[in-house]
């Protein structure tokens, strides 16, 4: 595709913004009907008439500063700005006249008089809208000369690793400032000074890198000139063609335009037509994609006999044949269930489907699991018990209609930044926010956002809190009886109503568990229950607990009891962690479920696959990841295929994980890099980055997005081809010509995907499952007329405390999470300039806890739990509650998961990352100085054949 320029009608779409009224206006003789409130500029654009402009773009509210979009309106004096003038009934507008032409030329000339002259000629400035405007108005020369006062010697700000601010190019149109305010919601930029002295200022006149800027790129995208410009564009030149694809970081799943010059990616620009992000991005998706060409990429298959041997580069055939023969030999000696594998939620639906097929059909067992085991498995369990399906109920856009938002155990400004921007937009328009989190996350109070309530509960007390909210709903007569009677089971509701009304669930009783004053809980419950539309959003702060599944069911109870399910603006919304964790769960990555969440013991479901795959399938559930690890140590599980997961860094109690990996007879790792897990591998199969993949990702709103290859696989094969080759070498031939054939097989076997194909995705842009005959264009909102299971099922949710307790020896609770600039185990983001924001994991500790232990800000501290110890630098942070400490796990050397325990969710074994009892004490050790915690990649790289 040539360079895709998405239409820009200058001011926002007003459809649905005001009452459903429309007006008809005549623009240059053409009649056009638009929603009331639409600007003349936008109406003109819709009528095919482009009005010149510099300060207007349709992602921002009109501003009216550049004075270029002037028009004449019959019956009105002067020449009003078309961007700030709403269409009126029967308005007659003229956009072109000698007077308007003269005015526009004059204004353009004034702008050009203080703008680098080479802008009109240099290829770098090809995208400058002032340059294009000069051509439009016929400006070839500036009459004012160069002797006057100007800004042409102003210094550039090159502090940000990804973009430059060149004030000489700046026309002070405020588009960057408004993008930061209106789109991103960070309010990091302003126009400082007045008149001629007006200049864009990051925070209080600081370099961008030192300011509050979060480097989302919205300002760069909004800038009409080259004042804010990607460094890659300056270095490589403007892009020439576009490939539409999908970000491979978090579960928001932003659509991007990969823009290339020749074969080289110049930049990633968020796609306005993208359903999940609608033109916005974060620092990771927008800029942190350079890892795909990082020198650490391993592009050759490698094998070795023992994990202490040097790696030996081999051909694909040799690597596949070696892996296949050893896996087959293990099965011959130890049984068909002695091997298994892990699919990757970083990979496409097609890749995941093929790997689980390889395990079920070629390995002949159900020993397949995925990283959802360590993040949102409780979501799957809890929502399927209550609603009948394992997925969030809404699309992201739904938040724009929410009046009250209950945010539990999620930190979207760091974890799901593009959704956070949407959320903040809604909050600035008046929706109320209730934050339930031990930490004072940014959304509790940040510019123009303040939570109505922050229920700062103790870690591990989510169930007690959700029950207390439910108690208030029931005992204060706030149940939506009509909804419950019509949509939910009468008997399970009656049981739950009785259970939740018990005194032990009252806010007054649970206050001892949660630490949150009862009146605050009552206020929050009333707010949620009485809102016209109330929505729950949650993250790993809910699921990664020993009662994660219980909390999910408790939230579902709340939503059903208050009638907040089945329309826009409400619902239960899991903020999924990885880009394709929804898809990997959908497509059979769990050991007890075939694609489409059908149990392996379901004869009818199994027969569909047995017929298609011509293999008898195991009707018994396989091993979950923690079970695989235990069985490896026990000697009954001997061979493993791990696709794109680094369990030796990401999973809890990594000492145990590493012992299990070391016990395997054969470990096959497929990845971009020699990660921590690969240190225990005998076969390394190179993987593909998202820029090379050809398939689909499914995001947290069940949206299936195309991932299109920007380049050929650098290792020579798509990952699904590798799985097919391995299965074939093990005696089960698997072959597809391309990714679309795999999606066709998914559609043929999985009812919720029945209407999905690459052709339909190309036509529609994206599709949200269920997509089938009943919903051919997909399903943005689920459970509209009824629950998937029929009637909604209430589940009693007693609070069962975790076994992990504080004690005199371990008096603090450690909770872990992630930060904006880094992503999970950091394999990608650590290999980008994002390290400039976060170059080590630190331990956040409350000032009182620090003082009590003599810990100064920046001091090194030893963190000791019942299972291990690590050393980090301390950061004193009053956003932490007393008694709770926090760290991230982006660097292998930090060893956060040396400390976390084996405790897990009772129903799904999702690890309890959020509650580990620890002691923190000053130490003279350097951070991560223990050699056992050092990143293994350098050692492994030393073993690679050069």
């Amino acid at each position: 595709m040539t360079l895709l320029r998405e239409p820009d009608h200058g001011t926002p779409d007003r459809t649905g913004a005001v009452e459903a009224r429309s007006v008809t206006v005549e623009i240059d003789g053409t009649a056009v009907t638009v929603p009331a409130g639409t600007s003349v500029m936008r109406a003109a654009g819709l009528a095919g008439v482009e009005i010149p402009r510099l300060c207007a773009t349709d992602s921002l509210e009109p501003f009216g500063s550049c004075r270029l979009c002037l028009v004449e309106i019959e019956g009105r004096k002067g020449t009003p700005a078309s961007c700030t003038t709403p269409c009126g009934p029967d308005m007659i507008v003229t956009t072109q006249s000698p007077r308007l032409q003269r005015l526009r030329r004059g204004v353009t000339e004034l702008y050009a008089s203080d703008h680098p002259r080479d802008c009109l000629t240099s290829d770098t400035h090809r995208e400058c809208e002032l340059r294009a405007l000069a051509k439009t108005v016929g400006l070839t020369d500036v009459r004012y000369g160069t002797g006057g006062k100007n800004h042409l010697d102003a210094a550039k700000d090159e502090s940000n690793p990804y973009f430059t601010f060149d004030p000489t190019e700046c026309i002070a149109c405020s588009r960057c400032v408004r993008a930061c305010d209106e789109v991103q919601g960070t309010f990091a930029l302003t126009i400082a000074g007045r008149g001629f002295g007006s200049t864009v200022s990051a925070s209080a006149g600081e370099p961008f890198m030192e300011s509050e800027c979060v480097s989302c790129g919205a300002c760069v995208q909004a800038c009409p000139t080259s004042a804010l410009q990607e460094k890659a564009v300056i270095a490589l030149g403007p892009p020439e063609r576009t490939v539409l694809t999908t970000c491979a970081y978090c579960g928001v799943g932003c659509s991007f335009k990969a823009e290339l010059r020749g074969e080289e990616v110049v930049r990633m620009v968020p796609q306005k037509a993208g359903g999940a992000n609608e033109g916005h991005s974060c620092v990771k998706g927008r800029f942190a994609w350079g890892y795909a060409s990082h020198r650490d990429r391993q592009l050759s298959p490698m094998v070795r006999e023992s994990i202490t041997d040097p790696w030996r580069n081999v051909s694909w055939d040799e690597a596949i044949s070696y892996a296949a023969s050893r896996l087959t030999a293990i099965q011959a000696e130890h049984g068909v269930r002695s091997i298994g594998g892990i699919t990757s939620s970083r990979c496409t639906n097609e890749e995941v489907f093929v790997v689980q097929k390889m395990i079920r059909a070629a390995f002949g067992n159900n020993n397949v699991d995925t990283c959802a085991r360590v993040c949102h498995a409780p979501t799957g369990y809890g929502l399927s018990q209550t609603f009948g399906t394992s997925a969030g109920t809404q699309d992201f856009k739904s938040v724009q209609q929410a009046d009250v938002i209950l945010l539990i155990g999620a930190n979207p400004t760091d974890g799901h930044p593009v959704f956070a921007s949407r959320l903040k937009q809604r909050l600035r328009k008046g929706a109320a926010l209730v934050v339930v989190d031990p930490r004072r996350i940014d959304l509790v109070r940040s510019p123009h956002v303040e939570a109505a309530q922050h229920l700062q509960l103790s870690p591990g007390s989510n169930v007690a809190m959700v029950n207390a909210l439910g108690h208030v709903v029931v005992t204060e007569g706030l149940v939506d009886r009509a909804f419950v009677e019509q949509r939910c089971e009468a008997d399970s509701f009656a049981r739950w109503e009785q259970f939740i009304a018990r005194p032990e669930n009252s806010p007054e009783s649970t206050e001892q568990i949660t630490g949150v004053p009862a009146e605050q809980v009552r206020t929050a419950a009333r707010l949620y229950a009485t809102a016209p539309n109330a929505a729950i959003y949650y993250g790993l702060g809910v699921t990664e607990h020993s009662q994660g599944s219980t909390t999910v069911m408790g939230m579902a109870n709340l939503a059903m009891a208050t009638g907040n399910i089945g329309r826009a603006g409400v619902g239960i919304n899991p903020l999924r962690g990885q880009n394709n964790v929804q898809g990997s769960c959908d497509l059979g990555s769990f050991p007890h479920e075939l694609p489409g969440y059908r149990h392996v013991s379901n004869d009818a479901a199994r027969q569909i696959f047995e017929q298609k795959w011509a293999r008898t399938l195991d009707p018994e559930p396989g091993l979950r990841i923690p079970n695989m690890l235990d069985a490896a140590i026990g000697g009954t599980y001997r061979g493993m295929f791990i696709q794109g997961e680094d369990i030796a860094q990401s999973d809890p109690n990594v000492k145990h994980v590493k012992a299990a990996l070391a016990a395997l007879d054969l470990l096959v790792v497929q990845d971009l890099f020699l990660n921590e897990t690969a240190a225990f591998a005998h076969v390394f199969l190179p993987g593909t980055s998202f820029l090379e993949k050809d398939g689909t990702f499914t995001n947290a709103e069940r949206r299936i997005n195309r991932v299109r290859p920007v380049m050929e696989p650098r290792c020579g094969k798509q990952e699904w081809q590798v799985a097919c080759d391995l299965a074939s070498a093990m005696g089960y031939p698997m072959h597809y010509d391309d990714g679309s054939q795999i999606m066709d097989e998914i559609a043929a076997t999985t009812p919720t995907f029945a209407g999905v194909s690459f052709a339909r995705l190309d036509e529609m842009g994206s599709l949200q499952w269920p997509c089938n005959a009943a919903a051919p264009d997909g399903t943005p909102t689920m459970h509209v007329d009824g629950f998937v299971r029929g009637k909604g099922h209430f589940v009693d949710t007693p609070f069962v405390p975790t076994d992990e307790r504080t004690s005199r020896k371990f008096p603090l609770i450690l909770t872990t999470g992630r930060i904006l600039s880094q992503y999970n185990v950091g394999a990608q983001t650590r290999r980008t300039p994002n390290v400039q924001w976060h170059n080590e994991d630190v331990l956040e500790i409350h000032p009182h806890d620090a003082e009590e232990r003599g810990i100064l800000d920046g001091a090194t501290v030893a963190i000791t739990s019942r299972v291990g110890q690590t050393v980090l630098r301390a950061r004193i942070a009053d956003r932490m509650p007393q008694g709770v400490v926090y760290t991230t796990f982006h660097y292998p050397g930090s060893g956060a998961n040396i400390v976390t325990t084996d405790n897990s969710d009772w129903a799904t074994n999702c690890p309890e990352y959020k509650v580990t009892a620890v002691q923190v004490m000053p130490t003279s050790q350097a951070p991560a100085s223990d050699q056992s915690l050092q990143e293994s990649a350098p050692v492994q790289l030393g073993l690679v054949q050069t």
């Binding site: 269930r337 159900n366 020993n367 259970f499 020993s546 009662q547 219980t550 050991p591 007890h592 149990h599 013991s601 018994e620 559930p621 396989g622 091993l623 979950r624 923690p626 079970n627 235990d630 069985a631 140590i633 026990g634 000697g635 009954t636 009693d796 007693p798 069962v800 076994d803 084996d902 897990s904 009772w906 129903a907 074994n909």
Partner: protein, 78 residues
């Protein structure tokens, strides 16, 4: 798997989370949960642990494990 402690802990935890139900219902629910989500090797190891006395299982967990064994015998062809 050779160390049943992990399985015992998991089963006791499951039992604790459904203990609010009437006993027979809780036993049936736990057994169904294990049947649906535990691999055969895990169930076999649990039964072996039961044969050894099952000392660390809570009474509800032990009852559920016995129910699972009985049901497994019913499900499996002779």
């Amino acid at each position: 798997m050779s160390d049943p402690a992990g399985l015992v802990r998991m089963l006791n935890q499951i039992a604790a989370n459904v203990a609010h139900h009437p006993h027979d219902q809780a036993v049936a629910e736990i057994a169904a949960h294990l049947r649906s989500s535990w691999a055969p090797a895990m169930r076999a190891e649990l039964f072996a642990y039961l044969d050894g006395g099952g000392l660390d299982l809570t009474p509800l967990a032990a009852a559920a494990a016995e129910e699972l064994r009985a049901a497994t015998t019913r499900w499996s062809p002779a």
